[in-house]
């Protein structure tokens, strides 16, 4: 058995086993924390090894349980796990984010956690979520992709409604309903693809779809696009996101914002390149990308709560990735992949920083915040670096990603592509406006000038939210920012900066990844063997 065959299932197995172990250790918080940190650190190491191996050897496929091809010309009987450069990069970035966020959550829990925080279910659920995310990236089979989605969704339901306060239950219900509708649509898509091709192994589906009429192919792709579009929050299907994400605890929002939408984007990339390379829906995708960008960012301008504001920028920036995918050129796809990696890191970091702001200042709305720059220059620094990164200021990775996408759009040269190039620039400027609005209001003006500046939340919230408002001067001093929260935030900022420092090697890696994804034969021959039916 080769090294890769051992490593490939580990990103799913380790978190699942860890979840079981943490369940057993439910009454021993310290042991639980140790298991979680060890499991997620191991996942980071495994994913880094997979990244190295795929970049050296090309696409790796593993037939779970040894259920390989039974008859030549037929697909494998069992589940297939596939790692190529795209999924390896996604795995590495997500595992880093998962580790940093759990470190942050643990740091917050140690410092501010009370006796009655529901920690004993938090870590197992979080590990199950990690397993679901990794499984979705590894799946080489449509139904296994569906199972990966379900695992991460079921875990996210629990994390979103943790504590079951009125607000979280209200939000949780609509989130569950929307997610389940998208899952059911995905299931319909799976049934229809099975009807058309008689298989669900993605490589085999890709081969057999070539014999299906173009109209049917477009229809199948459209069904999958609706399902993945809901998960990725692409414009007409995005309104659930800014409602549901902001109410969750800060680390949960951070990991949702960073990873869950990107799993949808990853699924769109896979479906678009591997299964339906010429389904003819690119123009519709471009229009959707344009509207996602503009509508999202206009929504962000109107918000006063920073978490909601960031959720709207999240929706808006999904448009950039869809834009890169819809160009269906190697350059566009490479830009989109780079942008996904950048956006996972920067969006997670910003939500973690908002968690710090909430802890230090007792509020996350611009109506109450003020004077943060003077109160804590360090906090201002941790906010401003990822914020400028999101806004696309030159040395940062947001700029590099946007330039790559603009270049690809300009090279494509169609009217719609130019419209999107314009839309991207406008969105980028408006993002900068939104960010600078947060900066001037929350960091520069005096807190006394904020309309509700005299109010604050009673105590720093960990997993349960405390909705009680008290006067600001009566708030107990929360002390300095805990190292356990600050260190992972700083680490994520540093990882975000390496996307700039190592931009050359990383962009050439995403170029290789895009070339590999577009050349479907490599994926197909890795799964089905050299002999193609």
């Amino acid at each position: 058995m080769s090294t890769s065959a051992v490593l490939t299932p580990l990103p799913v197995l380790i978190p699942l086993l860890g979840a079981a172990a943490t369940m057993f250790a439910g009454r021993r918080p310290r042991l639980q924390r140790t298991i979680t940190l060890a499991a997620l650190s191991a996942v980071v190491a495994v994913c880094a090894a997979l990244l190295y191996l795929t970049d050296r050897d090309g696409t790796l496929a593993l037939h779970v349980g040894g259920w390989a091809q039974s008859v030549p010309g037929m697909g494998p009987l069992g589940i297939t796990l596939v790692v190529d450069r795209l999924s390896a990069l996604m795995l590495v970035v997500s595992s880093i984010v998962l580790l940093a966020v759990v470190f942050y959550a643990i740091g917050q829990g140690i410092r501010d956690g009370g006796e009655h925080q529901p920690v004993s279910i938090f870590l197992p659920t979080y590990l199950a979520l990690s397993a679901g995310v990794c499984n979705a990236f590894l799946a080489g089979d449509l139904f296994n992709l569906f199972v990966g989605f379900e695992v991460l969704l079921a875990a996210s339901f629990v994390l979103l409604t943790i504590g079951a306060s009125t607000e979280r239950v209200r939000v949780g219900i609509s989130y569950v309903m929307v997610s389940m509708v998208s899952s059911v649509i995905f299931l319909i898509g799976i049934a229809l693809i099975y009807a058309a091709t008689g298989t669900l192994n993605m490589a085999e589906v890709a081969v057999r779809l070539d014999g299906v009429s173009p109209g049917t192919r477009s229809a199948l792709f459209a069904v999958l696009l609706v399902a993945f579009g809901i998960k990725a929050a692409v414009f007409p299907l995005s309104s659930w996101l800014p409602d549901s994400y902001p109410t969750a605890p800060a680390p949960v929002t951070a990991v949702f914002a960073g990873l869950l939408t990107k799993v949808g984007v990853y699924a769109i990339i896979r479906a678009h390149t591997l299964l339906f390379p010429d389904a003819g829906l690119d123009r519709m995708l471009m229009v959707a990308a344009f509207l996602t960008m503009i509508v999202g960012i206009l929504g962000a301008i109107a918000q006063s709560d920073i978490k909601r504001l960031l959720s709207f920028t999240l929706v808006s920036h999904i448009g950039y990735m869809v834009f890169g995918i819809a160009l269906s050129s190697e350059l566009g796809l490479s830009g989109a992949i780079y942008y996904v990696a950048h956006h996972i890191l920067v969006q997670t970091t910003l939500f973690l920083v908002v968690g710090l702001i909430e802890r230090q200042a007792g509020a996350s709305t611009l109506q109450r915040l003020g004077g943060l720059a003077a109160a804590s220059p360090l906090l201002a620094f941790v906010f401003v670096v990822p914020a400028l990164n999101l806004g696309g200021i030159p040395p940062f990775s947001g700029f590099i990603g946007k330039v790559a996408l603009l270049e690809a759009g300009a090279k494509s040269g169609s009217v719609l592509a130019w419209l999107l190039v314009g839309g991207s620039v406008v969105t980028s400027l408006l993002t900068l406006y939104v960010i600078s609005r947060v900066w001037t209001l929350a960091f520069w003006r005096a807190r006394a000038d904020a309309p509700e500046g005299h109010l604050a939340a009673a105590a720093p919230s960990v997993l349960l939210d405390d909705t009680q408002d008290i006067a600001l001067d009566e708030r107990v001093d929360v002390g300095r920012m805990p190292v356990g929260m600050l260190a992972p935030t700083g680490a994520l900022i540093a990882v975000g900066l390496t996307l700039t420092v190592l931009a050359g090697p990383i962009v050439s890696y995403t170029d290789r990844a895009a070339a590999e994804v577009i050349d479907r034969d490599r994926y197909i021959s890795a799964v089905l063997g050299e002999v193609r039916p």
């Binding site: 139904f143 199972v147 379900e150 079921a154 339901f157 629990v158 409604t161 079951a164 306060s165 009125t166 239950v169 209200r170 939000v171 949780g172 219900i173 609509s174 569950v176 309903m177 389940m180 509708v181 899952s183 059911v184 299931l187 319909i188 799976i190 049934a191 229809l192 099975y194 009807a195 669900l200 409602d243 902001p246 109107a302 918000q303 006063s304 709560d305 909601r308 611009l366 109506q367 003020g370 609005r437 001037t440 209001l441 003006r445 005096a446 006394a448 000038d449 904020a450 309309p451």
Partner: protein
């Protein structure tokens, strides 16, 4: 492959009833709608798996059929049923929790969304101008936060 019309009509009917229920505001109805759509999809998957036949177990036959039924479709349906059962249990507990908290079980609008959409121009301006909303009805003899603004200190 031949398809039979009646199951297809049944799938369509179940899905349309499910969508109708899902568009309601009552949570229990939404859950019922979701379950109906889930069953419709399971039926669709069963149809897609091809005609009926022998059980997919070696050495078992039924009624002298020659073909074997597709086991993959059945496996997928089983998985889908298990998943929807788990989710249904979770949603039911959420509904019960909503009822305990609000003595109602309806989806309500996002309050923050409503608040943002109802902000008046003055309030928006006050937020962006970094000034408190002026309240003319208040007793101005008391020193208020407007007196703390730069250039206006000790205006009284």
């Amino acid at each position: 492959m031949t398809t039979f019309l009646i199951p297809l009509v049944l799938v369509g009917g179940l899905i349309s009833v499910g969508v109708y229920l899902l568009l309601e505001r009552g949570l229990t109805r939404m859950l019922l709608g979701l379950l109906l759509i889930g069953n419709a999809v399971n039926l669709l998957m069963l149809m897609v798996g091809g005609p009926s036949g022998n059980p997919p177990v070696r050495g078992r036959f039924s009624d002298g059929e020659t073909a074997t039924a597709d086991p993959l479709a059945q496996g997928m349906i089983l998985t889908a049923i298990v998943i929807s059962m788990g989710i249904a249990a979770f949603v039911l507990s959420l509904i019960y929790r909503t009822y305990r908290l609000t003595t109602d079980e309806e989806v309500v609008n996002d309050p923050e969304d409503t608040r943002v959409s109802q902000l008046t121009d003055e309030e928006l301006e006050a937020l962006d101008e970094a000034r408190p909303v002026p309240q003319p009805a208040r007793d101005t003899d008391e020193p208020d936060e407007l007196d703390a603004l730069p250039g206006l200190e000790g205006s009284r």
